[in-house]
């Protein structure tokens, strides 16, 4: 299947979805006015990926900030990954990065970890 790559902008994150490597990367800012529209292609991609996933799926979230309407879409994205995991064809792990001192982003990762049934590693880095 095709990979999905979306270049980041001042308001939307860089998206890299690599099917054969089982690698999913989301980085930058996510503050679009219409988040549903922005995240729809990723959801569509996941639907396809779920049918023949790689044995191991690694999700790297390196977000600088996101708005509340993105927060809902990010949750939906994790929920889709959770159901892919539950099908038993792939192991899914999430690496949630936050910058030193950015407790808001750290807490956001912890909140998703509490809501979604996926293993999270919350990782502190000097610069995101």
């Amino acid at each position: 299947m095709e990979n999905l790559v979306i270049e980041g902008t001042a308001k939307t994150p860089t998206v890299e979805l690599d099917a054969s490597a089982g690698k999913i990367v989301l980085k930058g800012r996510s503050i679009p006015e219409n988040s549903i529209e922005f995240y729809r292609p990723m959801q569509d991609w996941l639907k396809d990926y779920g049918t023949t996933p790689a044995g191991q799926t690694i999700v790297d979230i390196r977000l600088e900030y996101f708005n509340t309407s993105s927060s809902k879409c990010i949750l939906d994205f994790f929920k889709s990954l959770e159901s892919i995991k539950n099908d038993g064809k792939t192991n899914v792990t999430v690496n949630w990065y936050f910058e030193t001192d950015d407790e808001d982003m750290q807490e956001a990762g912890e909140d998703y970890e509490a809501i979604v049934g996926l293993p999270f590693t919350i990782i502190e880095v000097d610069e995101i």
Binding site: A10, K11, I31, N34, S35, Y65, T68, S69, D102
Partner: protein, 183 residues
């Protein structure tokens, strides 16, 4: 405003430590410009990363909150330009940022607005986090993708109580002012 008032206008902004103000129609392009300007100013002011992110977050959230709700909340003044008109002011003094917004609201929406604000103001950090988490998990979403999390998020990032005032413009129109401190 007479030309001779321009200096007074300037002076007033200077005395109030206003680093940015805009009155008019709110659009997404305007948000991009405002973020760009405020980010540039914060670079120059040596604001630490955490505060920078909080200011940025509150700006985005209060702006988009206005932007999304302006249509449903705005009264029909009959002048479409004025219907969507609002004001945003950013102040900076002694390492404290204040983001003030003002917009027209339909008077029949005021009780619900007050209730939301009071609910948020009654909660401490931990309770706000729990409310956010439970709304994120269980709350619905409107067609526009708003999740009803805006004010909660603004309060969480501000770490201060939300200061607000609703002024009666006419019997059916109010003007809602929200002032968010990030210190």
């Amino acid at each position: 405003m007479a030309i001779s008032d321009v200096y007074d206008f300037y002076k007033r902004m200077e005395d109030d430590h206003i680093i940015l103000s805009f009155k008019g129609s709110f659009t997404e392009d305007l948000l991009t410009s405002i973020l760009h300007i405020v980010e540039g100013k914060m670079e120059g002011l040596n604001v630490n990363t955490k505060k920078k992110k909080r200011v940025f977050n509150v700006l985005v959230e209060s702006f988009q909150n206005l932007y999304h709700h302006i249509e449903e909340m705005a009264p029909n003044i009959g002048d479409s330009e004025k219907d969507k008109s609002a004001i945003i002011i950013v102040k900076y003094e002694s390492n404290r940022f204040t983001i003030v917004t003002g917009n027209f609201v339909n008077s029949n929406r005021i009780p619900e607005l007050r209730q939301k604000l009071e609910e948020v103001n009654a909660l401490n950090d931990e309770a706000l986090r729990e409310l956010y988490r439970s709304k994120l998990e269980n709350g619905g979403r409107t067609e526009k993708g708003t999740a009803g999390l805006g004010l909660i998020d603004i309060a969480r990032k501000s770490k201060n109580k939300l200061d607000y005032e609703i002024i009666d413009v006419t019997e059916s129109i109010g003007f809602f002012c929200l002032s968010v401190l990030i210190d």
